[in-house]
């Protein structure tokens, strides 16, 4: 088996006149965590449903672990652990009863199944609720049961559709940490519309918009697209309402391309907008320049490198 675990080839899906997915091609390699990013209705869920063989693409195909989704859906499903968007579980069952069922469906006998279950219950910290009915669990625990269910058969590939939606920040942090741990040995695709999420967990980001892939980069490369960062330096104005020594001092700092005094929001302050010539962090130098020139520094801010901005640019093109 090659290193490419998931290969989508020109996936297209039409629901009647609606083009849910349009000629989407991408690859995911072993050990990679791919973030699937896009506004609601962009085609994330459709792609995941195709990769798990729940629906078939209108045209194009996908290879999972080298197996075509058209040729052998059962083999594909064996290799994949899947958590759909709304975490659908049999709420009338108890957690252990449910995991027993999943293990059985995954082809384990009772004893082997129990061994696997014990392992995933530890991984997902479910032991305290193991005997409870799923309907009585909080959203966070349900999400963990959903993950446990996807992990029982130790799949080489995990497909998680918005695993963090609807969780409070603490729960989200726990699940995120869990995904990161799991992701060390596995290939993961996770969809989200939460940007910080992607930066924290994913090695690569795929942005989809209206069924098309508009970006396929590392988070850092994407940030670079936002343009270079710039700095806002706020200093106290001199007696005459300006701060000429600071202007000159900033110009002398290495790596500064351009300095412009912009309008201050408060009286008695001057704000300089500094454009650097490279991506090196200039804040220490700017601080020292202020100190050396005897200027009182009131604020120093680095702007840009904003995934959100890139996301908006890429996904709203042509909307205006």
């Amino acid at each position: 088996m090659s290193d490419v675990m998931i290969e989508a080839r020109a996936l297209t899906k039409h629901y009647g006149p609606i083009h849910a997915l349009d000629d989407a091609s991408f690859e995911v390699r072993r050990g990679e965590v791919l973030g699937f990013l896009g506004p609601n209705g962009a085609g994330k869920t459709t792609t995941m449903k195709i990769l798990t063989c729940f629906i078939a693409p209108t045209s194009g195909t996908a290879l999972i672990g080298g197996v075509d989704v058209f040729d052998d859906p059962l083999e594909v499903r064996r290799m994949v652990g899947y958590l759909p968007e709304t975490t659908p579980l049999y709420t009338d069952m108890r957690v252990l009863e449910y995991l027993d069922f999943v293990a059985k469906m995954r082809g384990f006998n009772h004893a082997d199944g129990r061994k696997r279950i014990q392992k995933v219950v530890e991984e997902t910290s479910l032991s305290e609720v193991i005997g409870q009915e799923i309907r009585s669990l909080s959203k966070g625990f349900r999400q963990r049961v959903g993950l446990a269910q996807a992990l029982v058969h130790e799949p080489p590939i995990l497909i998680l559709d918005e695993p963090l939606s609807g969780l409070d920040p603490n729960q989200a942090a726990e699940i995120r940490e869990l995904v990161r741990q799991i992701g060390r040995e596995r290939t993961i695709i996770l969809s989200t519309h939460n940007l910080p999420e992607v930066q924290m967990t994913c090695g690569r980001v795929l942005i989809v918009s209206r069924g098309k892939i508009v970006a396929n980069d590392t988070p850092d490369e994407l940030k670079a697209r936002a343009g270079k960062p710039h700095y806002l330096v706020t200093v106290r104005a001199g007696a005459d309402g300006a701060a000429p020594p600071m202007h000159a001092a900033i110009e002398r700092v290495g790596g500064v391309e351009r300095v412009a005094a912009s309008s201050a929001s408060e009286p008695g302050e001057v704000v300089f907008e500094v454009t650097p010539s490279d991506s090196k962090d200039l804040r220490p130098e700017l601080f020292r320049a202020a100190v050396d020139s005897g200027t009182v520094l009131l604020g120093l801010e680095r702007r840009g490198e904003d995934l959100e901005q890139v996301f908006r640019q890429l996904t709203t093109k042509g909307d205006a």
Binding site: F54, P84, Y90, G107
Partner: protein
Amino acid sequence: MRNVWTLAGREFRSYFNGVVAYIILAIVLLALGLLFWDNFFLQRAATARMMFERLSMLLVFATPAMTMGLLAEEKRTGTFELLITMPVRESEVILGKFFGVVGLLVVLLALTITYPLTIASLGNLDWGPVWSGYLGLFLEGATMLGIGLMASSFTDNQIVAFFVALFINGVLWLLGFFLPVLPLAAASYLEWFSFGYHFDSLARGVIDPRDLIFFVSVTALCLAVAFRSVERRRWS
């Protein structure tokens, strides 16, 4: 085939995890009691025929209640997606669900054994027609469950599934009563589709292969349609 039993077992247990099974069993048994003892002693005969006829009618209403959620509810809540993306064939899902609900039917029929037992204590009961009657109820019930499962595969709304199944059951069950008023040529064909036509001879103690073939083939047809409708999802 292993998957089929796993699914059937889960389905069967889920009826008893909630209140559904208890409600259906209680209502059917209560209604049967009222309908049966009402005129039992007027017959002045130790026969269970009436029980089979009454129960056959009650199944028209009870089976759609058993099957309405089978696929519709799973589709509505999304558990269907998780189920299908396990390494399982659509046909196994259909068969598993069918056998699971047939298990509930068996429980229901087993609980009515008190009727023949009671009648046997009151008089000299001929057990032959009792067993063939149970065979008839089982086959007719299973056929209605097949119809219900098919109805449940069409929609993600349990109520719709219930009424579609009730309608089909009702037509096939009532058909027997309308045959006399239909033109003879039509009646002789339509007769074949009537539940009563096939069930009555079994309830009388006659095991005719043609009746067995009728129930089995209608069930198989319904399961095949359910399979197609579940499978179609992939290509829609």
